[in-house]
């Protein structure tokens, strides 16, 4: 028995040594490490490095160590085609994944499509809508119809109330994401027969939100759907508090309310806002491996100027590499045709739960959560690390609490 254990240990050590000596499998990508999306991009990179280390500790992929080859795209789309050309033609990477965000995914598509590569993508909103590329696989759980699915839960929650609300205000920033989210909300509202009493956009560089919030209030909407990026989200929430905004349901598509620093900044002003999210530390969402991953992330994130808890993007950055890694193991090779065929039909076990892709490369079913902030205290960052502060209301299978309705500050 002892001999067998010793033999197994020696063989394992030998296989690790062989893996270490073998030519690595190179995974290439561009990432926003500076510029507008740098805070998210740096967090994603930490997650990807954790995945690389985890895989290499287990002996690599196909017995070969994994190496990440990446360049900073500075959040500028014009840098992306050159970076992917370099990755593929000079660095000779075996696999590629996308950078973070729609604007930085799309410029890579022509070269990826021309070379017929599988392309796992990180947080692109309907980025494959025009290309219809069958080897594109997007990890953000927006669902098969991202624009509509983004706000579907918000509307389902509203329409489940008695009496049903009738009037809605839709306000969004004038940028790519927010306009898409608002378009989806508009379509959902029309489908449900809601009366849209306010439907306007504002410039992303707006600093004073009081006139906007007052104008919304003047139309007396019961539901207020907001779609915007972090600086706008903070401004809208603060103005809503200052003005004493009255509505029955407030929130929807505000990016930024998922980040710990902003949560700490806004504190109790967040209470009872209902907003989208993708993963929160609620008991219904403790998928295998996610807590272990987040524990490693928290250690790695110290002093790097990124979200200290990393609930929003990092688990998905880890997961899209898990999808790729599991596909390589399952197909026992790096043939992109076989990898794509596997990704199209398989269900993947990842730290963000089971992932199954639909025909357009988006998740086959949406898992865009609607969460409600509860009992948020002032100046307390630690409170957001655990459950209870962002209660999952939607979808039903992940629900961890009931909606507090109507909204009260």
């Amino acid at each position: 028995m002892k001999f067998r254990i010793l033999l197994a240990a020696v063989l394992t050590a030998f296989s690790f040594a062989v893996a270490a000596q073998q030519k690595p499998i190179k995974v290439g990508f561009s990432m926003a490490l500076t510029g507008g999306l740098a805070a998210g991009g740096k967090g994603a990179l930490i997650a990807m490095e954790i995945w690389r280390d985890d895989v290499n500790k287990r002996g690599g992929l196909l017995g070969r160590p994994v190496e990440l080859v990446y360049y900073d795209d500075a959040t500028q789309g014009a840098n992306v085609p050159g970076i992917y050309a370099k990755l593929l033609d000079v660095d000779k990477v075996d696999l590629v994944v996308s950078g973070y965000g729609t604007n930085l995914i799309v410029p890579a598509m022509p070269i990826i499509m021309r070379k017929k590569l599988v392309f796992p993508a990180l947080f692109g909103l309907a980025a494959n809508e025009e290309f219809k590329y069958d080897r594109y696989f997007q990890i953000m759980p927006a669902g098969p119809d991202p624009k509509l699915d983004w706000s579907r839960g918000f509307f389902d929650l509203a329409m489940a109330q008695n009496p049903k609300p009738k009037a809605i205000a839709i306000v969004s920033a004038d940028d790519e994401f927010a306009l898409n989210a608002a378009a989806g909300a508009r379509a959902n509202a029309k489908k449900l027969g809601l009366n849209i009493v306010y439907d306007k956009t504002f410039p992303p560089a707006t600093t004073d939100y009081s006139p906007i919030v007052r104008a919304i209030q003047a139309t007396n909407p019961e539901i207020i759907y907001v779609a915007c990026y972090p600086p706008n989200s903070v401004g809208i929430v603060k103005s809503a508090s200052e003005i004493g905004l009255k509505a029955k349901l407030f929130g929807g598509g505000m990016v930024g309310l998922q980040f710990a620093a902003i949560q700490q900044n806004l504190g109790p002003l967040l209470n009872n806002i209902v907003n989208y999210d993708f993963w929160v530390p609620e008991p219904t969402l403790t998928f295998p491996g996610v807590n272990e991953f987040l524990a490693k992330y928290r250690v790695a994130a110290v002093g790097k100027g990124v979200d200290p808890y990393g609930h929003y993007l990092p688990p998905f950055a880890y997961a899209y590499l898990q999808v790729l890694g599991q596909s390589v193991e399952a197909t026992k090779g790096l043939d992109h045709g076989k990898l794509a065929a596997h990704m199209q039909k398989a269900t993947f076990d990842t730290v963000v739960g089971k992932v199954k892709f639909g025909k357009n490369g988006e998740w086959a079913t949406t898992r865009t959560l609607q969460v409600q902030f509860r009992d948020v205290q002032k100046d307390n960052l630690e409170q957001f690390s655990g459950p209870g502060k962002r209660v999952v209301l939607y979808p039903k299978e992940w629900k961890s609490g009931n909606l507090v309705y109507p909204y009260k500050q």
Binding site: Y71, A74, Q76, N79, P81, G82, V106, D174, E176
Partner: protein
């Protein structure tokens, strides 16, 4: 430089570019070269107004974006081929250049510079609110399947940009060494004196702004095919405007070759730094080189070379 040598050099460079597409398959080099050439074309264009005429333009990104969005709009409306799109973008850029000249002809120095910046912001605001071209959401441009006899679309784009850049350099040289160019120099040195000496300053300034606008529009026209997704953030990028100013300043603004030297030096450095250190370092590099040249060699590399030649014992 003699005309025969100049035209021979241009023909040789173009032939070398064409030959390159037959020898090198690696797409990375064409991507990098495309961006360097785009920078060179923008620098040459900026120098027509900023260097020859002495009117500093901070709104280069606006003209560049005009070209890019002309492509987006006309491709969507009429599905025109790339050469026609480039031509129309040049006309649109030229017309807006003339408009800029008329509207700002009473402004000088820093006031003119601020007006150009304001114009760029006005154009950006119009584009953001023009949903036909994607508005703030941006617009997709699928790369066409056909690319003549080239192996890939980026090879063709590189050759197109090479041709446009060489044409711009030729126009710039002709302007610099012509009677018209001497008139522009007179405006740069002392506009009132030039006017008194009979130089038609208004007409020459309009020629200068329209040539600059047309060249920048042409530079922006193929951009949507290069990135495949154009949004106001990328088309009106401040970095485009900063590079368009920095490259001629580093190379030297008084001579037609100055912006070419500056663009090749700065553009190549930026492309190397992008894949060795970080894309963001490019901003620092531009800043440091600009400060260094303005302090140590205000006439740029061309001025420095002339100074050294004059100082050399005979």
């Amino acid at each position: 430089m003699k005309s025969t040598v100049f035209w021979g050099a241009l023909a040789t460079i173009f032939a070398a570019g064409l030959a390159l597409t037959g020898v090198v398959q690696n797409e990375y080099y064409y991507n990098a070269l495309y961006l360097i050439l785009q920078g060179t074309l923008m620098a040459v264009a900026w120098n027509v107004l900023g260097g020859f005429t002495g009117y500093v333009n901070f709104g280069s990104a606006g003209f560049f974006a005009l070209g890019a969005y002309t492509t987006v709009a006309l491709n969507k409306a009429l599905g025109l081929p790339l050469p026609l799109l480039i031509l129309v973008a040049g006309v649109v850029g030229g017309l807006v250049g003339v408009g800029l000249g008329y509207l700002t002809l009473r402004l000088k120095g820093v006031y003119f510079a601020i007006a150009t910046l304001a114009m760029s912001i006005v154009i950006e605001t119009l584009v953001v609110n023009w949903s036909y071209v994607g508005g703030a959401k941006g617009s997709y441009m699928l790369t066409p399947d056909t690319h003549l006899w080239f192996d890939s679309y980026i090879q063709m784009l590189f050759v197109v940009m090479l041709l446009l850049t060489l044409a711009a350099v030729a126009i710039s040289r002709m302007l610099n060494s012509s009677r018209l160019g001497r008139g522009l120099s007179a405006i740069r040195d002392d506009e009132v004196a030039a006017e008194c000496a009979g130089v038609p300053t208004l007409r020459l300034k309009l020629v200068s702004t329209s040539v600059m606008g047309a060249m920048m529009g042409v530079a922006g026209a193929p951009f949507p095919y290069f990135v495949t997704f154009v949004d106001p953030l990328s088309a009106f990028n401040l970095f485009i405007a900063v590079n368009a100013i920095a490259m001629p300043m580093i190379g030297g603004t008084a001579h037609w070759i100055g912006p070419v030297i500056g663009a090749l030096l700065l553009g190549t450095t930026q492309e190397i730094v992008k894949v060795t250190i970080s894309s963001e370092m490019n901003v620092l590099i531009v800043g440091v080189m600009l400060v260094a040249f303005i302090t140590l060699a205000p006439q740029g590399i061309v001025g420095l070379a002339r100074k050294l030649r004059r100082g050399r014992p005979k």
